[in-house]
Symmetry: C2
Protein backbone atom coordinates (compact mmCIF):
# COMPACT_ATOMS: atom_id res chain seq x y z
CA UNK A 1 0.00 0.00 0.00
CA UNK A 2 1.37 3.38 -0.94
CA UNK A 3 1.47 5.76 1.99
CA UNK A 4 -0.29 8.97 1.03
CA UNK A 5 1.42 12.12 2.15
CA UNK A 6 -0.68 15.24 2.10
CA UNK A 7 1.36 18.29 1.23
CA UNK A 8 -0.40 21.49 0.39
CA UNK A 9 0.24 23.24 -2.89
CA UNK A 10 2.04 26.43 -2.07
CA UNK A 11 0.40 29.77 -2.84
CA UNK A 12 0.71 33.36 -1.73
CA UNK A 13 3.58 35.82 -1.76
CA UNK A 14 7.15 34.65 -1.37
CA UNK A 15 10.32 36.65 -1.20
CA UNK A 16 13.78 35.62 -2.38
CA UNK A 17 15.24 36.80 0.91
CA UNK A 18 18.18 39.14 0.43
CA UNK A 19 21.32 37.78 2.06
CA UNK A 20 23.21 39.92 4.59
CA UNK A 21 26.99 39.67 4.58
CA UNK A 22 29.59 40.53 7.19
CA UNK A 23 32.46 42.81 6.17
CA UNK A 24 34.58 39.65 5.63
CA UNK A 25 31.92 38.47 3.12
CA UNK A 26 30.71 35.58 5.27
CA UNK A 27 26.92 35.42 5.67
CA UNK A 28 25.50 37.19 8.75
CA UNK A 29 23.09 34.39 9.55
CA UNK A 30 21.59 36.15 12.57
CA UNK A 31 20.58 39.07 10.41
CA UNK A 32 19.18 36.64 7.85
CA UNK A 33 17.05 35.06 10.57
CA UNK A 34 15.73 38.55 11.50
CA UNK A 35 14.86 39.31 7.88
CA UNK A 36 13.04 35.96 7.61
CA UNK A 37 11.13 36.53 10.84
CA UNK A 38 10.07 39.96 9.72
CA UNK A 39 8.92 38.68 6.32
CA UNK A 40 6.83 35.98 8.00
CA UNK A 41 5.28 38.64 10.22
CA UNK A 42 4.29 40.40 7.00
CA UNK A 43 2.66 37.20 5.70
CA UNK A 44 5.39 36.57 3.15
CA UNK A 45 6.96 33.14 2.61
CA UNK A 46 10.68 32.54 2.35
CA UNK A 47 12.17 31.73 -1.03
CA UNK A 48 15.65 31.86 0.46
CA UNK A 49 18.48 31.30 -2.03
CA UNK A 50 16.77 32.91 -4.99
CA UNK A 51 18.58 34.91 -7.65
CA UNK A 52 18.10 38.08 -5.62
CA UNK A 53 19.46 36.33 -2.53
CA UNK A 54 22.83 36.16 -4.33
CA UNK A 55 22.34 32.42 -3.92
CA UNK A 56 24.62 31.61 -6.80
CA UNK A 57 27.43 33.35 -4.96
CA UNK A 58 27.03 30.88 -2.05
CA UNK A 59 28.36 27.34 -1.90
CA UNK A 60 26.11 24.36 -1.25
CA UNK A 61 27.69 23.93 2.17
CA UNK A 62 26.94 27.55 3.06
CA UNK A 63 23.31 27.07 2.03
CA UNK A 64 23.01 23.90 4.08
CA UNK A 65 24.49 25.70 7.08
CA UNK A 66 22.02 28.56 6.69
CA UNK A 67 19.00 26.28 6.29
CA UNK A 68 20.04 24.44 9.44
CA UNK A 69 20.39 27.70 11.34
CA UNK A 70 16.98 28.97 10.20
CA UNK A 71 15.19 25.80 11.24
CA UNK A 72 17.23 25.47 14.44
CA UNK A 73 16.20 28.99 15.36
CA UNK A 74 12.55 28.12 14.92
CA UNK A 75 11.66 29.35 11.44
CA UNK A 76 8.75 27.17 10.33
CA UNK A 77 10.01 24.96 7.47
CA UNK A 78 6.49 25.17 6.06
CA UNK A 79 7.31 28.77 5.17
CA UNK A 80 10.50 27.78 3.36
CA UNK A 81 10.88 27.32 -0.39
CA UNK A 82 14.68 27.41 -0.76
CA UNK A 83 16.36 27.61 -4.13
CA UNK A 84 18.23 24.34 -4.66
CA UNK A 85 19.02 24.24 -8.38
CA UNK A 86 22.76 24.32 -9.12
CA UNK A 87 24.86 23.70 -12.24
CA UNK A 88 25.97 20.29 -11.06
CA UNK A 89 23.48 17.46 -10.72
CA UNK A 90 25.32 16.21 -7.63
CA UNK A 91 25.03 19.62 -5.93
CA UNK A 92 21.33 19.92 -6.71
CA UNK A 93 20.65 16.46 -5.31
CA UNK A 94 22.62 17.12 -2.12
CA UNK A 95 20.98 20.46 -1.38
CA UNK A 96 17.47 19.33 -2.31
CA UNK A 97 17.77 16.23 -0.13
CA UNK A 98 18.76 18.39 2.79
CA UNK A 99 15.89 20.84 2.27
CA UNK A 100 13.34 18.02 2.10
CA UNK A 101 14.82 16.36 5.19
CA UNK A 102 14.38 19.62 7.10
CA UNK A 103 10.72 19.68 6.10
CA UNK A 104 10.76 22.57 3.63
CA UNK A 105 7.39 22.62 1.95
CA UNK A 106 8.88 23.11 -1.49
CA UNK A 107 12.09 23.86 -3.35
CA UNK A 108 12.59 26.36 -6.15
CA UNK A 109 14.74 24.74 -8.80
CA UNK A 110 16.79 26.47 -11.48
CA UNK A 111 17.71 24.34 -14.45
CA UNK A 112 21.45 23.63 -14.76
CA UNK A 113 22.65 26.85 -16.33
CA UNK A 114 26.26 26.60 -17.46
CA UNK A 115 25.86 24.61 -20.66
CA UNK A 116 23.72 26.50 -23.16
CA UNK A 117 21.36 25.27 -25.86
CA UNK A 118 20.73 22.01 -24.00
CA UNK A 119 17.78 19.93 -25.15
CA UNK A 120 14.47 19.45 -23.36
CA UNK A 121 15.32 15.76 -23.22
CA UNK A 122 18.57 16.55 -21.44
CA UNK A 123 16.76 18.74 -18.93
CA UNK A 124 14.11 16.04 -18.48
CA UNK A 125 16.86 13.55 -17.65
CA UNK A 126 18.42 16.03 -15.27
CA UNK A 127 15.22 16.69 -13.30
CA UNK A 128 14.32 12.99 -13.39
CA UNK A 129 17.67 12.17 -11.89
CA UNK A 130 17.20 14.71 -9.14
CA UNK A 131 13.75 13.36 -8.27
CA UNK A 132 14.83 9.71 -8.39
CA UNK A 133 17.93 10.41 -6.30
CA UNK A 134 16.21 12.51 -3.65
CA UNK A 135 13.68 9.72 -3.52
CA UNK A 136 11.40 11.27 -0.90
CA UNK A 137 7.60 11.48 -1.04
CA UNK A 138 7.72 14.91 0.53
CA UNK A 139 9.65 16.46 -2.34
CA UNK A 140 7.78 19.26 -4.13
CA UNK A 141 9.63 21.02 -6.93
CA UNK A 142 8.73 24.48 -8.13
CA UNK A 143 10.56 25.02 -11.39
CA UNK A 144 12.39 28.31 -11.83
CA UNK A 145 12.13 29.83 -15.30
CA UNK A 146 14.40 32.88 -15.58
CA UNK A 147 15.89 32.90 -19.08
CA UNK A 148 17.16 36.51 -18.92
CA UNK A 149 19.73 35.42 -16.31
CA UNK A 150 20.01 31.62 -16.40
CA UNK A 151 19.90 31.69 -20.24
CA UNK A 152 18.51 28.15 -20.01
CA UNK A 153 14.74 28.13 -19.75
CA UNK A 154 11.91 25.72 -19.05
CA UNK A 155 9.57 25.19 -21.97
CA UNK A 156 5.89 24.26 -21.79
CA UNK A 157 6.75 20.99 -23.48
CA UNK A 158 9.25 20.18 -20.75
CA UNK A 159 6.68 20.92 -18.04
CA UNK A 160 4.20 18.62 -19.80
CA UNK A 161 6.76 15.83 -19.89
CA UNK A 162 7.74 16.31 -16.26
CA UNK A 163 4.11 16.37 -15.12
CA UNK A 164 3.44 13.19 -17.03
CA UNK A 165 6.41 11.45 -15.43
CA UNK A 166 6.26 12.95 -11.94
CA UNK A 167 2.78 14.43 -11.27
CA UNK A 168 3.34 14.17 -7.55
CA UNK A 169 6.70 15.92 -7.35
CA UNK A 170 6.49 18.70 -9.90
CA UNK A 171 4.32 21.18 -8.09
CA UNK A 172 4.64 24.50 -9.87
CA UNK A 173 6.75 27.16 -11.46
CA UNK A 174 8.05 30.67 -10.95
CA UNK A 175 7.96 32.55 -14.24
CA UNK A 176 10.63 35.23 -14.24
CA UNK A 177 10.76 35.51 -18.01
CA UNK A 178 9.26 38.98 -17.78
CA UNK A 179 7.07 37.87 -20.68
CA UNK A 180 3.40 37.87 -19.71
CA UNK A 181 2.41 35.82 -22.74
CA UNK A 182 4.51 32.93 -21.43
CA UNK A 183 2.78 33.09 -18.03
CA UNK A 184 -0.59 33.33 -19.77
CA UNK A 185 0.19 30.29 -21.91
CA UNK A 186 1.05 28.27 -18.82
CA UNK A 187 -2.05 29.42 -16.96
CA UNK A 188 -4.16 28.46 -19.97
CA UNK A 189 -2.95 24.88 -19.64
CA UNK A 190 -4.77 24.56 -16.30
CA UNK A 191 -2.47 21.76 -15.18
CA UNK A 192 -3.71 19.92 -12.07
CA UNK A 193 -1.99 20.67 -8.78
CA UNK A 194 0.47 23.01 -10.42
CA UNK A 195 1.01 26.44 -8.85
CA UNK A 196 2.04 29.21 -11.20
CA UNK A 197 3.80 32.12 -9.55
CA UNK A 198 4.52 35.42 -11.23
CA UNK A 199 8.20 36.32 -11.04
CA UNK A 200 7.43 39.81 -9.80
CA UNK A 201 4.44 41.61 -8.31
CA UNK A 202 4.05 43.58 -11.56
CA UNK A 203 2.05 40.62 -12.88
CA UNK A 204 0.41 39.65 -9.59
CA UNK A 205 -3.15 40.83 -10.22
CA UNK A 206 -3.20 39.36 -13.75
CA UNK A 207 -1.78 36.10 -12.42
CA UNK A 208 -4.48 35.86 -9.76
CA UNK A 209 -7.25 36.75 -12.22
CA UNK A 210 -6.10 33.90 -14.44
CA UNK A 211 -5.91 31.18 -11.82
CA UNK A 212 -2.31 31.59 -10.65
CA UNK A 213 -0.97 30.97 -7.16
CA UNK A 214 0.68 34.30 -6.29
CA UNK A 215 4.10 35.75 -6.83
CA UNK A 216 7.70 35.29 -5.76
CA UNK A 217 9.22 38.73 -5.83
CA UNK A 218 12.42 40.36 -4.67
CA UNK A 219 10.58 43.60 -3.92
CA UNK A 220 8.69 41.74 -1.19
CA UNK A 221 11.85 42.35 0.87
CA UNK A 222 10.85 46.00 1.09
CA UNK A 223 7.12 46.07 0.31
CA UNK A 224 5.70 42.82 1.67
CA UNK A 225 2.39 43.92 3.14
CA UNK A 226 1.05 45.77 0.15
CA UNK A 227 2.04 42.97 -2.18
CA UNK A 228 0.32 40.50 0.10
CA UNK A 229 -2.80 42.69 0.08
CA UNK A 230 -3.07 42.47 -3.71
CA UNK A 231 -2.73 38.71 -3.41
CA UNK A 232 -5.40 38.55 -0.71
CA UNK A 233 -7.86 41.11 -2.03
CA UNK A 234 -7.46 40.70 -5.76
CA UNK A 235 -11.20 40.16 -6.17
CA UNK A 236 -12.02 43.56 -4.65
CA UNK A 237 -12.98 46.45 -6.86
CA UNK A 238 -10.00 48.59 -5.90
CA UNK A 239 -7.42 45.90 -6.69
CA UNK A 240 -6.41 47.71 -9.90
CA UNK A 241 -5.45 50.77 -7.88
CA UNK A 242 -3.60 48.60 -5.38
CA UNK A 243 -1.69 46.95 -8.23
CA UNK A 244 -0.93 50.36 -9.68
CA UNK A 245 0.54 51.44 -6.35
CA UNK A 246 2.79 48.36 -6.35
CA UNK A 247 3.93 49.20 -9.86
CA UNK A 248 5.01 52.72 -8.93
CA UNK A 249 7.47 51.42 -6.33
CA UNK A 250 8.58 48.46 -8.42
CA UNK A 251 9.31 50.66 -11.43
CA UNK A 252 11.53 52.93 -9.38
CA UNK A 253 13.48 50.08 -7.81
CA UNK A 254 13.97 48.08 -10.98
CA UNK A 255 15.33 51.07 -12.84
CA UNK A 256 18.50 50.31 -10.80
CA UNK A 257 20.40 47.02 -10.59
CA UNK A 258 17.89 45.16 -8.41
CA UNK A 259 19.98 43.47 -5.71
CA UNK A 260 22.16 46.51 -4.90
CA UNK A 261 19.04 48.69 -4.94
CA UNK A 262 17.17 46.48 -2.46
CA UNK A 263 20.19 46.33 -0.16
CA UNK A 264 20.63 50.09 -0.41
CA UNK A 265 17.00 50.62 0.60
CA UNK A 266 17.11 48.24 3.56
CA UNK A 267 20.45 49.70 4.64
CA UNK A 268 19.10 53.25 4.48
CA UNK A 269 15.77 52.76 6.21
CA UNK A 270 17.13 50.35 8.83
CA UNK A 271 20.16 52.59 9.39
CA UNK A 272 22.50 49.61 9.01
CA UNK A 273 25.46 50.13 6.70
CA UNK A 274 26.45 46.49 6.52
CA UNK A 275 23.26 45.70 4.57
CA UNK A 276 25.04 47.43 1.71
CA UNK A 277 27.61 44.66 1.40
CA UNK A 278 27.30 42.41 -1.67
CA UNK A 279 29.41 39.41 -2.48
CA UNK A 280 31.56 39.89 -5.61
CA UNK A 281 31.10 39.89 -8.55
CA UNK A 282 28.12 42.03 -7.49
CA UNK A 283 28.80 45.48 -6.13
CA UNK A 284 26.77 48.08 -4.25
CA UNK A 285 25.18 51.12 -5.85
CA UNK A 286 27.48 54.06 -6.18
CA UNK A 287 26.86 57.06 -3.96
CA UNK A 288 25.10 59.15 -6.55
CA UNK A 289 22.68 56.36 -7.51
CA UNK A 290 22.03 55.60 -3.85
CA UNK A 291 21.08 59.21 -3.19
CA UNK A 292 18.94 59.40 -6.30
CA UNK A 293 17.10 56.19 -5.40
CA UNK A 294 16.34 57.31 -1.84
CA UNK A 295 15.18 60.68 -3.12
CA UNK A 296 12.78 59.01 -5.55
CA UNK A 297 11.43 56.81 -2.77
CA UNK A 298 10.97 59.77 -0.45
CA UNK A 299 9.04 61.53 -3.21
CA UNK A 300 6.41 58.76 -3.14
CA UNK A 301 6.42 58.72 0.69
CA UNK A 302 7.85 55.23 0.85
CA UNK A 303 8.91 54.03 4.26
CA UNK A 304 10.22 50.75 5.60
CA UNK A 305 9.56 50.22 9.27
CA UNK A 306 11.15 47.14 10.75
CA UNK A 307 11.51 46.14 14.33
CA UNK A 308 15.02 44.73 14.08
Amino acid sequence: MIKEIQIEQLKGVFSPVITPFNPDLSVDYKKLIHQCEWLISQEVGLAVFGTNSEANSLSVDEKIFLLDKLVEYGIDPNKLMPGTGCCALSDTIKLTKHAVKLGCSGVLMLPPFYYKAVSDDGLLEYFSNVIDSVNDDRLRIYLYHIPPIAMVGISLQLIEKLLKRYPRYVAGIKDSSGDWSNTQNMLDEKWDNFSIFAGSESFLLKTMQNGGAGCISATANINPKKIFDVYKYWKKSDSIDMQEELNVLRNIVQSYPLIPALKCIVSHFCKDKTWNILRPPLTGLNLSDSKKLIKELNAINFNLIKSN
Copy 2:
Protein backbone atom coordinates in the same frame (compact mmCIF):
# COMPACT_ATOMS: atom_id res chain seq x y z
CA MET B 1 62.98 39.15 2.87
CA ILE B 2 60.45 37.88 0.38
CA LYS B 3 61.04 34.28 -0.58
CA GLU B 4 61.25 33.99 -4.34
CA ILE B 5 59.43 31.05 -5.83
CA GLN B 6 60.33 30.17 -9.38
CA ILE B 7 57.33 28.83 -11.26
CA GLU B 8 57.55 28.44 -14.99
CA GLN B 9 55.05 30.12 -17.24
CA LEU B 10 53.00 27.37 -18.78
CA LYS B 11 53.09 26.83 -22.52
CA GLY B 12 52.31 24.08 -24.99
CA VAL B 13 49.19 22.09 -25.75
CA PHE B 14 46.67 21.34 -23.02
CA SER B 15 43.49 19.34 -23.18
CA PRO B 16 40.34 19.84 -21.16
CA VAL B 17 40.27 16.14 -20.36
CA ILE B 18 36.90 14.56 -21.12
CA THR B 19 35.37 13.01 -18.02
CA PRO B 20 34.31 9.34 -18.09
CA PHE B 21 31.18 8.41 -16.17
CA ASN B 22 29.92 5.12 -14.83
CA PRO B 23 26.38 4.04 -15.75
CA ASP B 24 25.22 5.44 -12.36
CA LEU B 25 26.68 8.82 -13.44
CA SER B 26 29.49 8.81 -10.89
CA VAL B 27 32.93 9.62 -12.32
CA ASP B 28 35.01 6.63 -13.40
CA TYR B 29 38.21 7.99 -11.91
CA LYS B 30 40.35 5.07 -13.04
CA LYS B 31 39.40 5.70 -16.63
CA LEU B 32 40.12 9.39 -16.12
CA ILE B 33 43.60 8.50 -14.88
CA HIS B 34 44.14 6.40 -18.03
CA GLN B 35 43.04 9.25 -20.27
CA CYS B 36 45.39 11.62 -18.42
CA GLU B 37 48.31 9.21 -18.68
CA TRP B 38 47.73 8.76 -22.37
CA LEU B 39 47.54 12.52 -22.96
CA ILE B 40 50.81 13.04 -21.11
CA SER B 41 52.39 10.32 -23.27
CA GLN B 42 51.27 12.40 -26.26
CA GLU B 43 52.96 15.52 -24.79
CA VAL B 44 49.68 17.17 -23.88
CA GLY B 45 49.05 18.87 -20.52
CA LEU B 46 45.97 18.33 -18.43
CA ALA B 47 43.41 21.09 -18.22
CA VAL B 48 41.09 18.82 -16.25
CA PHE B 49 37.73 20.37 -15.34
CA GLY B 50 37.37 22.51 -18.42
CA THR B 51 34.08 23.20 -20.16
CA ASN B 52 34.52 20.11 -22.31
CA SER B 53 35.27 18.04 -19.21
CA GLU B 54 31.65 18.66 -18.15
CA ALA B 55 33.30 20.29 -15.15
CA ASN B 56 30.29 22.42 -14.41
CA SER B 57 28.27 19.26 -13.94
CA LEU B 58 30.62 18.19 -11.13
CA SER B 59 30.55 19.42 -7.54
CA VAL B 60 33.58 20.97 -5.87
CA ASP B 61 33.91 17.91 -3.66
CA GLU B 62 33.92 15.61 -6.70
CA LYS B 63 36.65 17.72 -8.28
CA ILE B 64 38.74 17.65 -5.11
CA PHE B 65 38.34 13.88 -4.92
CA LEU B 66 39.46 13.50 -8.53
CA LEU B 67 42.48 15.79 -8.15
CA ASP B 68 43.53 13.81 -5.10
CA LYS B 69 43.16 10.54 -7.00
CA LEU B 70 45.19 11.81 -9.99
CA VAL B 71 48.07 13.00 -7.83
CA GLU B 72 47.89 9.95 -5.56
CA TYR B 73 48.19 7.76 -8.64
CA GLY B 74 51.31 9.58 -9.69
CA ILE B 75 50.16 12.08 -12.30
CA ASP B 76 52.72 14.88 -12.18
CA PRO B 77 50.99 17.97 -10.74
CA ASN B 78 53.26 20.02 -12.98
CA LYS B 79 51.15 18.76 -15.88
CA LEU B 80 47.90 19.87 -14.25
CA MET B 81 46.01 23.06 -14.95
CA PRO B 82 42.60 22.28 -13.42
CA GLY B 83 39.59 24.50 -13.96
CA THR B 84 38.70 26.01 -10.59
CA GLY B 85 36.37 28.91 -11.38
CA CYS B 86 32.85 28.43 -10.00
CA CYS B 87 29.83 30.72 -9.58
CA ALA B 88 30.37 31.11 -5.87
CA LEU B 89 33.44 32.90 -4.55
CA SER B 90 33.64 30.45 -1.64
CA ASP B 91 33.71 27.46 -4.03
CA THR B 92 36.38 29.00 -6.22
CA ILE B 93 38.57 29.71 -3.21
CA LYS B 94 38.16 26.20 -1.78
CA LEU B 95 38.95 24.41 -5.04
CA THR B 96 41.81 26.73 -6.01
CA LYS B 97 43.42 26.36 -2.57
CA HIS B 98 43.30 22.61 -2.94
CA ALA B 99 44.80 22.65 -6.43
CA VAL B 100 47.66 24.87 -5.31
CA LYS B 101 48.27 22.73 -2.23
CA LEU B 102 48.61 19.67 -4.49
CA GLY B 103 51.24 21.51 -6.52
CA CYS B 104 49.27 22.11 -9.73
CA SER B 105 51.34 24.42 -11.86
CA GLY B 106 48.38 26.61 -12.74
CA VAL B 107 44.61 26.87 -12.53
CA LEU B 108 42.23 27.82 -15.32
CA MET B 109 39.67 30.21 -13.88
CA LEU B 110 36.24 31.00 -15.28
CA PRO B 111 34.71 34.23 -14.10
CA PRO B 112 31.60 33.78 -11.92
CA PHE B 113 28.97 33.17 -14.58
CA TYR B 114 25.47 33.21 -13.11
CA TYR B 115 24.91 36.94 -12.71
CA LYS B 116 25.08 38.68 -16.07
CA ALA B 117 26.19 42.18 -17.04
CA VAL B 118 28.48 42.41 -14.02
CA SER B 119 31.03 45.21 -14.02
CA ASP B 120 34.78 44.88 -14.52
CA ASP B 121 35.14 46.34 -11.04
CA GLY B 122 32.97 43.57 -9.62
CA LEU B 123 35.04 40.94 -11.41
CA LEU B 124 38.24 42.62 -10.23
CA GLU B 125 36.98 42.40 -6.65
CA TYR B 126 36.05 38.77 -7.20
CA PHE B 127 39.46 37.71 -8.53
CA SER B 128 41.23 39.84 -5.92
CA ASN B 129 39.29 38.09 -3.21
CA VAL B 130 40.24 34.69 -4.60
CA ILE B 131 43.93 35.62 -4.77
CA ASP B 132 43.99 37.18 -1.30
CA SER B 133 42.12 34.25 0.23
CA VAL B 134 44.18 31.52 -1.41
CA ASN B 135 47.17 33.49 -0.19
CA ASP B 136 49.84 31.19 -1.62
CA ASP B 137 52.93 32.28 -3.55
CA ARG B 138 52.60 29.26 -5.81
CA LEU B 139 49.21 30.36 -7.19
CA ARG B 140 49.21 30.97 -10.96
CA ILE B 141 45.87 31.91 -12.51
CA TYR B 142 45.13 31.44 -16.19
CA LEU B 143 41.95 33.38 -16.89
CA TYR B 144 39.28 31.63 -18.91
CA HIS B 145 37.50 33.81 -21.46
CA ILE B 146 34.60 31.91 -23.03
CA PRO B 147 31.75 34.36 -23.54
CA PRO B 148 29.71 32.11 -25.89
CA ILE B 149 29.04 29.79 -22.94
CA ALA B 150 29.82 31.63 -19.72
CA MET B 151 28.17 34.81 -21.09
CA VAL B 152 30.44 36.73 -18.74
CA GLY B 153 33.75 37.60 -20.34
CA ILE B 154 37.14 38.98 -19.41
CA SER B 155 37.95 42.29 -21.02
CA LEU B 156 41.39 43.63 -21.86
CA GLN B 157 40.80 46.40 -19.33
CA LEU B 158 40.16 43.83 -16.62
CA ILE B 159 43.36 41.96 -17.49
CA GLU B 160 45.31 45.24 -17.30
CA LYS B 161 43.88 45.97 -13.86
CA LEU B 162 44.57 42.46 -12.61
CA LEU B 163 48.14 42.50 -13.90
CA LYS B 164 48.72 45.81 -12.23
CA ARG B 165 47.43 44.52 -8.91
CA TYR B 166 48.72 40.93 -9.05
CA PRO B 167 51.56 40.64 -11.62
CA ARG B 168 52.82 37.55 -9.90
CA TYR B 169 49.58 35.56 -9.76
CA VAL B 170 47.84 36.39 -13.01
CA ALA B 171 49.80 34.28 -15.44
CA GLY B 172 47.79 34.04 -18.63
CA ILE B 173 44.51 33.45 -20.41
CA LYS B 174 42.69 30.95 -22.55
CA ASP B 175 40.74 32.77 -25.23
CA SER B 176 37.72 30.71 -26.24
CA SER B 177 35.83 33.65 -27.66
CA GLY B 178 36.21 32.19 -31.14
CA ASP B 179 37.08 35.74 -32.19
CA TRP B 180 40.63 35.94 -33.52
CA SER B 181 40.68 39.75 -33.30
CA ASN B 182 40.28 39.48 -29.52
CA THR B 183 43.25 37.09 -29.30
CA GLN B 184 45.25 39.34 -31.61
CA ASN B 185 44.47 42.38 -29.46
CA MET B 186 45.70 40.58 -26.38
CA LEU B 187 48.85 39.35 -28.12
CA ASP B 188 49.53 42.91 -29.28
CA GLU B 189 49.67 44.05 -25.67
CA LYS B 190 52.81 41.96 -25.10
CA TRP B 191 52.16 41.75 -21.37
CA ASP B 192 55.14 40.45 -19.37
CA ASN B 193 54.96 36.87 -18.10
CA PHE B 194 51.48 36.38 -19.46
CA SER B 195 50.78 33.27 -21.52
CA ILE B 196 48.08 33.55 -24.15
CA PHE B 197 46.52 30.27 -25.20
CA ALA B 198 44.21 29.83 -28.17
CA GLY B 199 40.93 28.21 -27.15
CA SER B 200 41.18 25.69 -29.98
CA GLU B 201 43.86 24.42 -32.33
CA SER B 202 42.18 26.26 -35.22
CA PHE B 203 44.10 29.35 -34.12
CA LEU B 204 47.24 27.57 -32.95
CA LEU B 205 49.63 28.52 -35.75
CA LYS B 206 48.49 32.15 -35.76
CA THR B 207 48.81 32.26 -31.98
CA MET B 208 52.37 30.93 -32.11
CA GLN B 209 53.34 33.29 -34.94
CA ASN B 210 52.17 36.20 -32.81
CA GLY B 211 53.96 35.32 -29.60
CA GLY B 212 51.34 33.15 -27.89
CA ALA B 213 51.95 30.19 -25.59
CA GLY B 214 50.02 27.40 -27.30
CA CYS B 215 46.47 26.16 -27.14
CA ILE B 216 44.03 24.50 -24.77
CA SER B 217 41.76 22.46 -26.94
CA ALA B 218 39.11 19.80 -26.45
CA THR B 219 40.10 18.11 -29.70
CA ALA B 220 43.46 17.30 -28.12
CA ASN B 221 41.55 14.42 -26.50
CA ILE B 222 41.48 12.72 -29.89
CA ASN B 223 44.27 14.37 -31.91
CA PRO B 224 46.99 15.24 -29.38
CA LYS B 225 50.15 14.40 -31.30
CA LYS B 226 49.40 16.35 -34.45
CA ILE B 227 48.29 19.37 -32.48
CA PHE B 228 51.48 19.17 -30.45
CA ASP B 229 53.50 18.98 -33.68
CA VAL B 230 52.06 22.29 -34.90
CA TYR B 231 52.96 23.80 -31.52
CA LYS B 232 56.48 22.41 -31.71
CA TYR B 233 57.26 22.93 -35.39
CA TRP B 234 55.34 26.11 -36.13
CA LYS B 235 58.47 27.75 -37.51
CA LYS B 236 58.90 25.06 -40.17
CA SER B 237 57.92 25.73 -43.75
CA ASP B 238 55.19 23.06 -43.83
CA SER B 239 53.43 24.32 -40.72
CA ILE B 240 50.62 25.80 -42.83
CA ASP B 241 49.86 22.36 -44.23
CA MET B 242 50.03 20.83 -40.77
CA GLN B 243 47.62 23.45 -39.49
CA GLU B 244 45.33 22.77 -42.44
CA GLU B 245 45.29 19.10 -41.54
CA LEU B 246 44.27 19.95 -37.97
CA ASN B 247 41.48 22.12 -39.33
CA VAL B 248 39.99 19.35 -41.44
CA LEU B 249 39.46 17.14 -38.38
CA ARG B 250 38.39 20.01 -36.14
CA ASN B 251 35.80 21.20 -38.64
CA ILE B 252 34.22 17.77 -38.82
CA VAL B 253 34.08 17.33 -35.05
CA GLN B 254 32.80 20.79 -34.23
CA SER B 255 29.96 20.48 -36.71
CA TYR B 256 28.42 18.29 -33.97
CA PRO B 257 27.82 19.19 -30.31
CA LEU B 258 31.45 19.00 -29.19
CA ILE B 259 31.37 17.02 -25.94
CA PRO B 260 29.05 14.24 -27.18
CA ALA B 261 31.06 14.08 -30.42
CA LEU B 262 34.38 13.64 -28.59
CA LYS B 263 32.91 10.96 -26.35
CA CYS B 264 31.38 9.20 -29.33
CA ILE B 265 34.76 9.15 -31.08
CA VAL B 266 36.66 7.83 -28.06
CA SER B 267 33.94 5.28 -27.41
CA HIS B 268 34.00 4.05 -31.00
CA PHE B 269 37.74 3.82 -31.53
CA CYS B 270 38.45 2.43 -28.05
CA LYS B 271 35.52 0.04 -28.32
CA ASP B 272 34.19 1.15 -24.94
CA LYS B 273 30.50 1.97 -24.79
CA THR B 274 30.60 3.64 -21.40
CA TRP B 275 32.64 6.51 -22.85
CA ASN B 276 29.36 7.54 -24.43
CA ILE B 277 27.81 8.45 -21.08
CA LEU B 278 27.31 12.16 -20.40
CA ARG B 279 25.99 13.69 -17.22
CA PRO B 280 22.63 15.45 -17.71
CA PRO B 281 21.69 18.00 -18.89
CA LEU B 282 24.08 16.91 -21.65
CA THR B 283 23.18 13.91 -23.75
CA GLY B 284 25.00 11.66 -26.18
CA LEU B 285 24.78 11.93 -29.94
CA ASN B 286 21.84 10.11 -31.44
CA LEU B 287 22.55 7.00 -33.45
CA SER B 288 22.27 8.61 -36.85
CA ASP B 289 24.64 11.45 -35.97
CA SER B 290 27.08 8.97 -34.41
CA LYS B 291 27.16 6.94 -37.60
CA LYS B 292 27.53 10.01 -39.77
CA LEU B 293 30.38 11.33 -37.64
CA ILE B 294 32.32 8.06 -37.73
CA LYS B 295 31.78 7.80 -41.47
CA GLU B 296 33.18 11.30 -41.98
CA LEU B 297 36.20 10.42 -39.84
CA ASN B 298 36.82 7.20 -41.72
CA ALA B 299 36.70 9.18 -44.95
CA ILE B 300 39.73 11.20 -43.85
CA ASN B 301 41.48 8.05 -42.55
CA PHE B 302 41.31 9.22 -38.96
CA ASN B 303 42.30 6.71 -36.33
CA LEU B 304 42.73 6.84 -32.60
CA ILE B 305 45.10 4.27 -31.22
CA LYS B 306 45.27 4.11 -27.49
CA SER B 307 46.90 1.55 -25.29
CA ASN B 308 44.21 1.53 -22.61
